[in-house]
């Protein structure tokens, strides 16, 4: 399940829902990316997506991960628009039989979201807003899975 949202969301509520009634998956891994306070005021960052295209690209990444890591289920929630300090930017949930697959799939999905999903991110720091590109570490992290 892939969801983009302009509104704040509660990663814990998503996790509760994801775990409910699950008796075949032993392992649930998750990752939450929070907006750090970069000293730029009420908005920590702004996220731009391309509606439709962004969901489709994430869907393709997710489907490949589902097969590769034998996932039972997964959820990706990603904010768009203005995000305040402390708010969740992204949530990835993965369910698998065993923990290694759940962890690796979650790690992999985050690496791809960081540098291969169609989002553009403007960080608001003390010197004003600036567009952020993936870091060298983001690129080498993502390349681990190629």
């Amino acid at each position: 399940m892939i969801r983009l949202t302009e509104l704040p969301f509660d990663p814990g509520a998503e996790l509760t829902r994801f775990c409910a009634g699950r008796t075949a998956s032993g392992a649930i891994a998750s990752f939450v990316g929070l907006a750090r306070d970069a000293g730029g005021g009420a908005t920590a960052l702004e996220l731009e997506a391309w509606p439709g295209f962004t969901e489709a690209r994430i869907g393709a990444i997710a489907e490949a991960a589902r097969v590769r890591f034998a996932l039972h289920d997964l959820v990706i929630v990603h904010r768009t628009g203005a995000v305040a300090p402390g708010e969740a930017i992204v949530l990835v949930l993965t369910a698998a039989a065993h923990r290694r697959e759940a962890f690796e799939a979650c790690d992999h999905l985050m690496d791809y979201l960081k540098s291969r999903a169609p989002f553009w991110k403007k960080e608001h720091g003390p010197a004003g807003p600036r567009w952020v590109e993936p870091t060298a570490r983001d690129l080498t992290d993502a390349a681990r899975w190629d």
């Binding site: 990316g33 996220l47 731009e48 391309w50 439709g52 295209f53 489709a56 990603h78 930017i89 992204v90 985050m110 979201l113 960081k114 540098s115 291969r116 999903a117 169609p118 989002f119 553009w120 991110k121 403007k122 567009w131 952020v132 590109e133 993936p134 983001d138």
Partner: protein, 81 residues
């Protein structure tokens, strides 16, 4: 004509997000040349390494023919999460 979409820093640079270019360019490289004639800085930015193009919502590599009315998006380096 071709409809052009810009994202992220490219639309900040150009001052617009969406614009049509006419007459219809026959190829992606012809469209890029039209954009560069209209705005030299933008022309250089869409040709920078790391900028991808999507034609009718499919990522493309290299040059490609454009149908009349094609939608062409220029996507600077992506950074989610």
């Amino acid at each position: 004509m071709a409809r052009v979409l810009l994202f992220g820093p490219l639309s900040d640079l150009a001052g617009w997000r969406e614009r049509t270019f006419a007459p219809a360019p026959a190829t992606l490289s012809q469209l890029k040349a039209m954009i560069a004639r209209a705005d030299r800085a933008l022309g250089a930015a869409i040709d920078a390494p790391g900028v991808r193009a999507a034609v009718d919502r499919e990522l493309v590599a290299g040059d490609i023919g454009l149908a009349d009315g094609a939608e062409v998006a220029f996507l600077p380096p992506m950074s989610g999460g």
